[in-house]
């Protein structure tokens, strides 16, 4: 059970400050949604959280230790990330690709054992790809490739899941299924998740907390119920947003024009 923390993190893209002094604590049990318009720095922030990039200033801390100073293998056992795009250059089977999630847990010469295989099969089953095990990854549709990448992330079993637009390319059924899986993982109280999303209603339904990036360094973060309203969303997306009361809470949609 680890805590991932941003301490006064600045994010710059091409010299322009997009996030200023972000303070954030991603605790076990929380599912964060990261909202903001295109190009505002969501992916860059996720990369900083994953230790792939270094923030322009400030620190990202895993259990109070600067993640840029931790060995990658150790990080990979705690933090996993679903990237925005998955491109397969070399052919491989679906099962083999799901198994790569075990990589950080295996020693140098070690081979995947029966338990690892079992984990991969269960993950493929969970994303509805169990009949695809022997299929080649280059022949998958966009949505199937997305689900496979998510399965590999499940196999990696990270305590903290970072997700860059996890519902990209997915049909409604699978959007709900995958968001539900992430949420139930965090409900166990040992895991946390942090997902960049464009669908505010998915964030409203599933996320316990949201952070919004307004640009020019401005941001706000907090529990979803307090953060998501017409005013904040209009400020965020620069368009008129209507609020509807749904059976399971408020829903937002852009007003035409």
């Amino acid at each position: 059970m680890s805590v991932l923390e941003c301490s006064k993190v600045n994010v710059r893209i091409a010299g322009i400050q997009v996030v200023r002094e972000l303070d954030l604590k991603i605790q076990p049990g929380q599912f964060w949604g990261l909202l903001g318009p295109n190009g505002i720095g969501k992916t860059t922030l996720l990369k900083c959280l994953a230790g792939l990039d270094q923030p322009a200033a400030g620190q990202v801390l895993l259990e109070s230790r600067n993640i840029n100073e931790l060995p990658r293998k150790l990080l990979a056992r705690h933090i996993g990330m679903l990237q925005q795009h998955t491109v397969y250059v070399f052919d491989s089977s679906v099962l083999q690709t799901a198994l790569t999630g075990r990589h950080p847990h295996l020693a140098y010469w070690e081979r995947e054992g029966a338990r690892d295989l079992e984990k991969a099969r269960m993950a493929l089953d969970a994303v509805g790809l169990s009949d695809f095990q022997a299929r080649s990854v280059t022949g998958l549709s966009g949505g199937e490739a997305r689900r496979l990448a998510f399965a590999a992330l499940l196999v990696q079993e990270p305590e903290i899941m970072l997700l860059d637009e996890p519902t990209n390319h997915l049909d409604l059924k699978h959007q709900v299924k995958i968001m539900g899986m992430i949420q139930s993982r965090t409900h166990s109280g040992r895991h946390s998740a942090f997902a960049a999303l464009h669908d505010i209603n998915l964030a409203a339904s599933y996320c316990s907390h949201v952070v919004m990036l307004f640009g020019e360094g401005n941001w706000c973060a907090g529990p979803t119920g307090e953060m998501l309203n017409e005013t904040s969303l209009e400020k965020l997306y620069h368009c008129t947003v209507e609020r509807l009361e749904g059976a399971s809470g408020p829903r937002f949609h852009p007003a035409p024009g």
Binding site: A50, L52, P71, R72, K73, L74, L75, A76, R77, G80, M81, Q83, T86, V87, Y88, V89, F90, D91, S92, S93, L95, Q96, T97, L99, T100, G101, H103, P104, L106, Y108, W109, R111, S136, G139, Q156
Partner: protein, 327 residues
């Protein structure tokens, strides 16, 4: 994933085929040995045929096998390194540096025995040039490495043309054979075999890391690989393999490009199986190609590079086509 039983069968087959290829290479040639002559020759190394076998054909076959394995292994590594299925062992200019040095030596008329050492030195210079220029600060950039390597290779190619133009006519034929790839004078240097074994073991240890690397640098980092370090190790290992192969046999084409592909189509892309399979198949493929090169137009000997290309291209296209139909 390949079941264990299939895997054993595959490696048994590749071992037997390798042995068979060396047997054929040692028996066939301008003087073809039948079974009893072969047995007599192998047991009596001081007879004429024994000398032929022990001093000419077997060392040449062993050299061919080693070079084939070196090139195929290097091709596998280069393709992962650049994440490009079109990469081959020569793409980053290692062979260009080797060729330049070797051809320069030939122009000056140095002894044939010195050429491999010269070639190795040339390759090393090229490796160091590309390494120091492409390394830089900041994150790994495959594009920067590829561009640095390709441009360096073009530079060597220009120098090679210059050497060919200025070189004495008497050495042109030798130079040309060297550039096409030729095993006529190849003896098996034990250091080459040692390099092959050592690098192969190192690669096999990293095989699972290569699997995740093939999925992209970012994916590999997210799965716990310190990719910057790993990629430079892969670059250096692949370059050493190429340099060793080229210094023995010149620029034999197509083996390092085609064998990794063929093996990917046959055994999949798990490097724990792909690397040994590619090394063994590359070895036996080059032994057979070289045997053909010696025998097809005997007593004329062709440079083996011609044969690998003539054999490899249709074989590759055929398998590629079959794989597509299967999908």
């Amino acid at each position: 994933m390949m079941p264990t039983a299939h895997r054993r069968l595959l490696f048994l087959a590749l071992t037997l085929l390798s042995a068979a290829s060396i047997l054929i290479a040692s028996a066939a040639g301008s003087v073809t040995l039948n079974w009893s002559e072969w047995l007599a020759a192998i047991s009596n190394s001081s007879s004429d045929q024994g000398e032929l076998l022990w001093r000419l054909r077997l060392p040449r076959a062993a050299a061919a096998w080693t070079v084939g394995a070196l090139l195929s292994l290097s091709g596998c590594l280069m393709q992962v390194l650049l994440r490009n299925p079109l990469a081959d062992p020569y793409i980053l200019g290692v062979s260009g540096g080797a060729s330049c040095a070797a051809l320069f030596g030939m122009t000056l008329g140095v002894a044939a025995g010195v050429i491999p050492a010269l070639a190795w030195a040339g390759a090393l210079v090229s490796i160091l040039i590309v390494f120091s220029l492409a390394r830089g600060e900041g994150p790994w950039s495959g594009t920067r490495l590829l561009l640095t390597g390709v441009v360096t290779a073009s530079g060597w190619a220009a120098l090679i043309s210059l050497l060919l133009t200025l070189g004495p006519d008497s050495s042109l034929r030798g130079m040309l054979f060297w550039l096409i790839g030729d095993l006529s004078y190849a003896k098996l240097p034990y250091w080459a075999l040692a390099i092959l074994v050592l690098v192969f073991l190192a690669c096999l240890g990293m095989a699972r890391s290569l699997n995740v690397l093939a999925m992209g640098e970012t994916t590999a980092r997210l799965l716990g690989e310190p990719t910057r370090k790993l990629l430079w190790i892969v670059y250096l290992l692949a370059s050493v393999l190429t340099a060793t192969a080229v210094s023995i046999a010149g620029n034999i084409g197509f083996v390092g490009l085609i064998v990794p592909h063929l093996m990917r189509l046959l055994v999949g892309s798990d490097h724990r199986i792909l690397l040994p399979a590619a090394a063994m198949f590359g070895g036996l493929f080059l032994v057979l190609s070289d045997t053909l090169a010696r025998t097809v137009l005997a007593p004329r000997q062709l440079p083996v590079g011609v044969v690998t290309a003539l054999l490899g291209v249709p074989l590759f296209l055929l398998l590629l086509n079959r794989a597509r139909v299967k999908q």
